[in-house]
C-alpha cells in the first residue's frame, strides 16, 4: 500500500527540476529545483550514453556559479528558498560559459543586513563610544563614534538620539551584531554621515529600492526633471527626500511610493500631468 502511494506521489511531481536558463525572469517557488547547464547536458536525453572521450573532461565542464539571495546549494543541487522572479548575471569576465550569479528577486518588506549595503538608520541609543542604530533588521546595528569623517577621540561627531544616519555595513552576518560605518576605506565621508534636519523619511518595499537604484532607472531621471531635490536611498527600504517646499516633498514621496505598481505608460502620464501644473 505504501508503495502505491509513493508511485502516485512520483507521478504527481510533474517534471521535477527545471533548467535554470529556461525559467529566467519567471516566478519560482520555494522547494523547486533548478538545473544548471552542465547538469542539463549530463541528464538530458542520451547524456549518460555515448560521450566523446576527452582528457580533462571533469575539469573543463565545471563552472563557477554563485547562489544569490533566495537560492541554496544542497549537495550538487540548486534549490529555491524564496518566491520571486529568477534572475541571472553573466560573470564579469564574459565568455558566457554558464556560470555567473543566480538570484531570486522577491518583493520582501523585511530587511536583512548585508555587508557593503548602504542604509538609512535611526539612532536609538548612545552608550559610551558606540551608537545603536535601528536599520529595520532583527537587531540594531552598532556604529562607533570614530567611524565618521574627521572624528578623533577629542573631536566627537555631533550625533543625537533620533538622528538619521546614512552609512554602510562593514560587518553583517547572521551570527554577529551588524556594524556600520560612515566613512569609506580611504577615511572619506563620501556622502555618508548624519542626514540634515528637514526632509521626509518614508518606507517602501526592498524591491522598489533595488529598482530605483538600478543603473539608468527612468523613474529617478523623470523625478529629477520635476523639481530640484535631495534624495537618499537606503537598501533597507527607507527613502529620505527633501525639496524646496513641503508640498513638493510630499508630492515626490507620493510619486515614489506609487510608482511601484505602475506601468511605464502610466508613469509617463503622471509625470506629464505634474509637469504641466
Amino acid at each position: 500500500m505504501a508503495e502505491g502511494v509513493s508511485v502516485v506521489a512520483e507521478s504527481l511531481a510533474g517534471g521535477g527540476a527545471r533548467v535554470a536558463r529556461s525559467v529566467l525572469g519567471q516566478v519560482v517557488l520555494p522547494g523547486e529545483e533548478l538545473l544548471l547547464p552542465e547538469q542539463e547536458d549530463a541528464e538530458g536525453p542520451g547524456g549518460a550514453g555515448e560521450r566523446p572521450l576527452s582528457l580533462n573532461a571533469g575539469a573543463c565542464s565545471r563552472v563557477r556559479v554563485i547562489c544569490g539571495p533566495g537560492l541554496r546549494r544542497c549537495g550538487d543541487r540548486l534549490l529555491v528558498t524564496k518566491c520571486g522572479r529568477l534572475r541571472h548575471k553573466e560573470p564579469g569576465g564574459g565568455g558566457g560559459g554558464g556560470g555567473g550569479v543566480y538570484w531570486v528577486d522577491s518583493q520582501q518588506k523585511r530587511y536583512v543586513p548585508v555587508k557593503g549595503d548602504h542604509v538609512i538608520g535611526i539612532v536609538t541609543a548612545k552608550s559610551g563610544d558606540i551608537f545603536k542604530v535601528d536599520v529595520g533588521g532583527s537587531e540594531p546595528a552598532s556604529l562607533s563614534y570614530l567611524s565618521f569623517e574627521g572624528a578623533t577621540k577629542r573631536n566627537r561627531p555631533n550625533v543625537q538620539v533620533g538622528d538619521l544616519i546614512y552609512g554602510q555595513f562593514v560587518v553583517a552576518n547572521k551570527d554577529m551584531e551588524p556594524e556600520m560605518v560612515c566613512i569609506d576605506s580611504c577615511g572619506r565621508a563620501n556622502g555618508m554621515g548624519v542626514i540634515g534636519q528637514d526632509g521626509l523619511l518614508f518606507k517602501v518595499t526592498l524591491g522598489l529600492i533595488r529598482k530605483l537604484l538600478a543603473p539608468d532607472c527612468e523613474i529617478i531621471q523623470e523625478v529629477g526633471k520635476l523639481y530640484p531635490l535631495e534624495i537618499v536611498f537606503g537598501m533597507n527600504g527607507r527613502i529620505w527626500v527633501k525639496a524646496k517646499t513641503i508640498q513638493q516633498t510630499l508630492i515626490l514621496a507620493n510619486i515614489l511610493e506609487a510608482c511601484e505598481h505602475m506601468t511605464s505608460d502610466q508613469r509617463k502620464q503622471i509625470f506629464s500631468r505634474l509637469a504641466e501644473s
Binding site: V5, V27, L29, P30, R72, Q108
Partner: protein, 238 residues
Amino acid sequence: MEEERHTEAKIGAETGRGSSPRGPGCSLRHFACEQNLLSRPDGSASFLQGDTSVLAGVYGPAEVKVSKEIFNKATLEVILRPKIGLPGVAEKSRERLIRNTCEAVVLGTLHPRTSITVVLQVVSDAGSGAQLLACCLNAACMALVDAGVPMRALFCGVTCALDSDGTLVLDPTSKREKEARAVLTFALDNVERKLLMSSTKGLFSDAELQQCLAAAQAASQHVFRFYRESLQRRYSKS
C-alpha cells in the same frame, strides 16, 4: 482597489478549479487567496476555502525576547485568534500543530537569534475544526511566502472525511464533517508530497488511512497549482 483585487483572485481560483479533474469524491471546494493586503506586517495573506476564511500576518525575521532566543535558529511562534472570544485549549492545540508544520519547512538556521511570528485570525468559520485547520495551514504558508521567509518547501492542508459506509469525501462541508465516521487533516509538502503533519478524529483502519493520504496527495496538487497561479499573478503586477 482591495476589493477589485479580491474578485480578481476569486476569478482566478474559479478557473484554476475548473481545470481540475473532478472525479467522484475528488473535488475541493473553491478557494481564493489575496496576498500583501496588510501594510504593517512583513507578509500577509488571506485564504478563503469554501465557507472558511483566515487572515494571516507574518512578522520576521524580527527582534526576539532574550528569554525566547535560540542561539542557532529562529524562534517560530504561531498565534491563532478565534473569531470571537479568547483563544482556548482547541486554539492552543491547533497553534502547536501549525507551528510544528511550519518549523519543518522554514529554514530557521539562516536567521539565528530572531523571531518569526505568524498571527492567524479566523474571519469566518463554519464550525468545522478540521476545515479550519487546513485553511489556517494554507493561509500561514502563503503569508510566509509573502514575507520572504526562506523555506525548504511549500505546504498545504487537506481535509478528508470517511462516511459510515466508508466513502471518502475530500474537503467536506461542515454538515458532512459532522456526519462522518472519521475526519483526517493532512499537511503535505510540495517537493516530495510527503506528510508533514496529520490530525485525525474518529475510527478508521490502516488501509483507509493510506487511501485518504493518497487522495489528499492528489488533491494537494490542485492546491499547489493554485498557489503558483496566485503567486504568478502577484508578481505579474510589478
